[in-house]
């Protein structure tokens, strides 16, 4: 029952804050990786190079599908921004369903930019099934397809080191975010720009993907404070012998 209450309260807050944010735009702190992402987006269009969006090998059928969905939201925005570039952005996925959704998202981005005829279906790819198969296939894209930036957003484990290592050797800018702890620590050691923890889900708000993304951040903050209060309250109650 508690889960249902949390869900309903979250949905209600999201709805109310989305309406509220339409009137007063959100003020958000600066995240270096996302500022750099903005810069990289502009540069790739200007110098006619490609962006590679790696969506990881997360399945949409389990609880870790959230990071893949966040990656797709970001892919949609990047596609819109780079659709008129000489070299279209490429998206790679390590899960078939995610690969199909990546193709659909790319097409939607081109449609939104009004240049649907430029969409190439093979820019959305499944490079391998499973973490290492995926990484091996995605390494190939960064190396051989005139890529200037590799944006990794989704489910990545330690295998992400293979991707970042390739990016490093080929002087490709790497920006990474993963919902996996091992993946995050590897990204921290391997890339100058990394998003830690829930910053992965803040990308939409920073890239201007819509009011609902900014509202999501506010609801996340409210829920985080509630969790902190619950933890402190629980600790106090245990200390006082109440529970």
């Amino acid at each position: 029952m508690i889960e249902l209450i949390i869900l309903v309260v979250s949905a209600f807050l999201l709805l109310v804050i989305t309406i509220w944010k339409r009137k007063s735009p959100a003020k958000i702190r600066e995240i270096a990786a996302l500022t750099n992402l903005h810069r990289v987006l502009g540069l790739s269009v200007e110098d006619g190079t490609r962006m590679h969006v790696s969506l990881g090998s997360g399945s949409l059928l389990n609880a870790r599908g959230g990071s893949a969905l966040a990656g797709l939201a970001m892919l949609r925005h990047i596609t819109e921004q780079t659709s008129v570039s000489d070299k279209p952005s490429v998206a790679s996925a390590g899960d078939s369903a995610l690969g199909l959704l990546a193709q659909d998202t790319l097409q939607a981005g081109y449609q939104a930019a009004g240049v649907e005829e430029l969409y190439i279906p093979t820019t959305g790819r499944v490079t391998g099934l499973g973490p290492f198969g995926y990484a091996a296939g995605a390494m190939n894209i960064s190396k051989n397809e005139n890529v200037s930036a590799n944006i990794m957003v989704g489910r990545f484990g330690p295998e992400v080191a293979l991707l970042t290592d390739t990016s490093d050797r080929d002087h490709v800018i790497a920006i990474g975010a993963s919902d996996d702890l091992a993946g995050q620590s590897v990204l921290f050691a391997n890339t100058p720009d990394i998003l830690i923890g829930e910053e992965l889900f803040a990308m939409g708000a920073y890239l201007g993907a819509g009011v609902s993304h900014a509202a999501s951040l506010t609801v996340q903050d409210i829920l985080r404070w509630l969790v902190i209060l619950a933890l402190l309250g629980g600790a106090f109650a245990k200390f006082a012998g109440i529970i």
Binding site: L7, S10, D104, A161, F188, L200, G210
Partner: protein
Amino acid sequence: MRVITVFIAVVSGLLVLSGYFLTGFFPVLADVQTLLLNWAIILMGVAALVGIFNLITVHTDKIRRRETGSFYSAILVFFLLGTFFLGLILRPEHGLMGVVMNGIIIPVEAALMGLLSISLLYAAIRLLRRRADMMSVIFLIVAALVMLGSATLPFVNLPILGITSRWITQVLALGGARGILIGVALGTLMTGLRVLFGVDRPYGGN
């Protein structure tokens, strides 16, 4: 068409979600949930085939255009189709398919894992050159302490290293990990709700 896809997605999502919470009031929801999840699993199976077809298309395209690395694409397509048809003819339980799995795929993944350890070591060495800040210093000190605490040291026995390592992994790291995972869970919840409400639509076009 777009409205229909959004409607189907939102209703399916709500029905599956209701199946977790409201089966006490509406028992039929459990059957609906199972049915929808079974459909999803079947669709995932079909998607796997489509994904493999996509992989073949991308690589045959590379071979046709004689792009850089097309030799590897040719090897990939050849062995992918070979394994696929061999599996169809012999069935996956056949001994030869076991050899393909245990003799090729698993060793190759293990080799990649070995390569990974070198990559990580190299990254750790270069970390301070790439990002010379307090967090990097802490990261390296903690990594070194945990590794020294886990390893058997020659000639010396320093129990303090083991105690420090255990305290770092079981108190500091565990607390931090839980904090990050709570943040990720909240972000996942919000992303899920946006998809459920049809605000984010990673399906059905624009």
